[in-house]
Symmetry: C2
């Protein structure tokens, strides 16, 4: 990690996108959900059954108001209320009742619990989230995770090869194992992959379906993927500020959307926009679909964005290829 | 792999679900697409930009008719036409022009190429696919792939530990490496994971976005995941035939949908249904959403399905736990 990234990480406030998904079984159905709480902003809540996705964003005034309506006798400061919501959506609590109500296209999740003997109720009133949110919060992160886990498989194969070379050296020096069962087989990545696809454990894993996709370790991976994307977007944003002139040369109208301008905005369009990965600050390789209910930028601006993204993508690919070539030259460890 | 599975695999005809996704850049946008061709049935075609998904299913008569309309002078037997379509959607050919046209909610992909000097045109006229298709063909398989790749990371860690034990044994016997650079560090899975999240290669991988999700190896993984799911569904189907009496005791109406009954059906609902993973034959752990445009089964039947699924899920989980416990008893390799 670059020191710039680790510096940035320390001060970054985080966002809904950097929170990982929690698996919840509600009324016999499997859901994934996540909540992001910010004591100055309010909360964002996202829920999916993998077919539809529902979203609610509430600012602090709205939270206070709803709390008063639902819990007239419940007196607590805002941070306590927000913490309650976070706690009850981060893990499913035995002491809390969760009820799901479909309301047309929308979805209401009702929490009922007791805090210090007093009943506390909350209702998340969610609207159908835009399609882009399913892509940004679930589909693309999962695809990136698959890519990264593939890279790790490769890396672990390299480590195994190195161990084999060390073992070979001991054997050449006349060393033998004291107990036969300590002896390992030479590692071969191709054989390994083939074996994994036909072993019993593979069937078991697939039989469990998507239950393991957000295990503790994979949640961490999800968060780091999203954080790194946010870091890239930040860099891109800075680049944009520098290259304003370039892009206007390309025929672009580069009126800047202020970062975070959508926060707390009351309009439905802004509320529904994917919170931290705005359509114009996307990492390389992401498909950009114009249209939909989000107000689309000017055609010319879209072209500039596309070119910029393509350039970044190309740069990254070239860099990766250079590194690959370098590695090969060094003596193909894997 | 059980011998029953490998036997079944040999005779299984395959389906659209068992074909992996191909990455296509079309007019500056990234798409994923796949085609399944069957010389007796026709073809199925699926395309996504990760936000929307479009689908077309054509039987052989429809294919012949469209070919005649688009290519009056092109005389070729059906297998040739189907092969042309498969070839031109499996990899992007330099000699073919690909054009995308949005038509309301629909999408038309036009291919234009030359075969033996004669112009050949094809149009895939796709409708917006149902949400369940995005889940069945992309989201759930990706989540299962993440789970499986996590399992492999674990397995490779075990192999590294075993190598370390072998190396330790040589060292205890007085062996030394002949060259210092052959010496490896002891492997620790926790340290490894932490390092992977903060290394430069991680940033590079994330920077590439989802480009690697369907690399050659991951395509193979996707296919095996889908094939194994189809195998489970087949088993479940057989189970259902045996347990008809049970389910009627549970208040269910278990009129069987014949497997593959939707094939070639002209009705829109059937055409749009996810081709080989029908909603009632889903692996454990899959969320089932009632409603939507697909005609939903009776409430009572839904309950039976839910219970059946839950029972299967429980059985698989118990089995996994038993195995886990057994492994731990054996002496915790990892």
């Amino acid at each position: 990690m670059s020191s710039a990234k680790s510096e940035w990480k320390k001060t970054w406030q985080g966002a809904l996108s950097a929170r990982s998904w929690q698996r919840f079984e509600l009324e016999g159905q499997n859901f994934l959900l996540k909540t992001h709480v910010d004591h100055r902003e309010g909360y964002e809540f996202l829920l999916t059954d993998l077919t539809s996705m529902w979203y609610e964003k509430m600012d602090i005034d709205q939270v206070k108001k709803r709390c008063k309506t639902l819990n007239p006798r419940f007196e607590a400061p805002l941070p306590t209320i927000l913490r309650l919501l976070q706690d009850n959506t981060e893990t499913k609590k035995d002491s809390t009742d969760y009820t799901i109500q479909h309301k047309g296209e929308g979805m209401v999740l009702v929490l009922e619990t007791k805090v210090g003997g007093i009943r506390f109720t909350w209702e998340f009133h969610c609207q159908q989230a835009q399609k882009e949110m399913l892509r940004d919060q679930l589909l693309e992160p999962l695809m990136t995770m698959v890519g990264e886990l593939g890279r790790r498989e490769h890396r672990l194969g390299q480590l195994l090869k190195a161990k084999d070379r060390e073992i070979e050296d001991y054997k050449m020096g006349g060393a033998t194992v004291s107990r036969k069962n300590l002896q390992t087989e030479r590692f071969d990545p191709t054989t390994f992959r083939k074996e994994q696809l036909v072993c019993k454990e593979f069937d078991e894993q697939v039989g469990q379906g998507w239950q393991e996709a957000f295990s503790r370790e994979n949640q961490e991976l999800y968060r780091e993927v999203m954080l790194t994307q946010a870091w890239f977007n930040r860099e891109e944003e800075e680049d944009e500020e520098v290259s304003d002139e370039d892009s206007s040369l390309l025929g672009g109208m580069t009126s800047h959307h202020a970062a975070g301008a959508t926060k707390g905005s009351p309009s439905r369009v802004d509320e529904q926009r994917s919170p931290s990965v705005s359509p114009r600050k996307r990492p390389a390789g992401s498909p950009l679909k114009a249209g939909g209910a989000v107000s689309t930028p000017e055609k010319s601006q879209k072209d500039v964005e596309l070119m910029r993204r393509e350039a970044l993508q190309k740069r990254l690919q070239e860099e990766a290829q250079r590194k690959q070539a370098k590695k090969k030259k060094k003596g193909a460890l894997f």
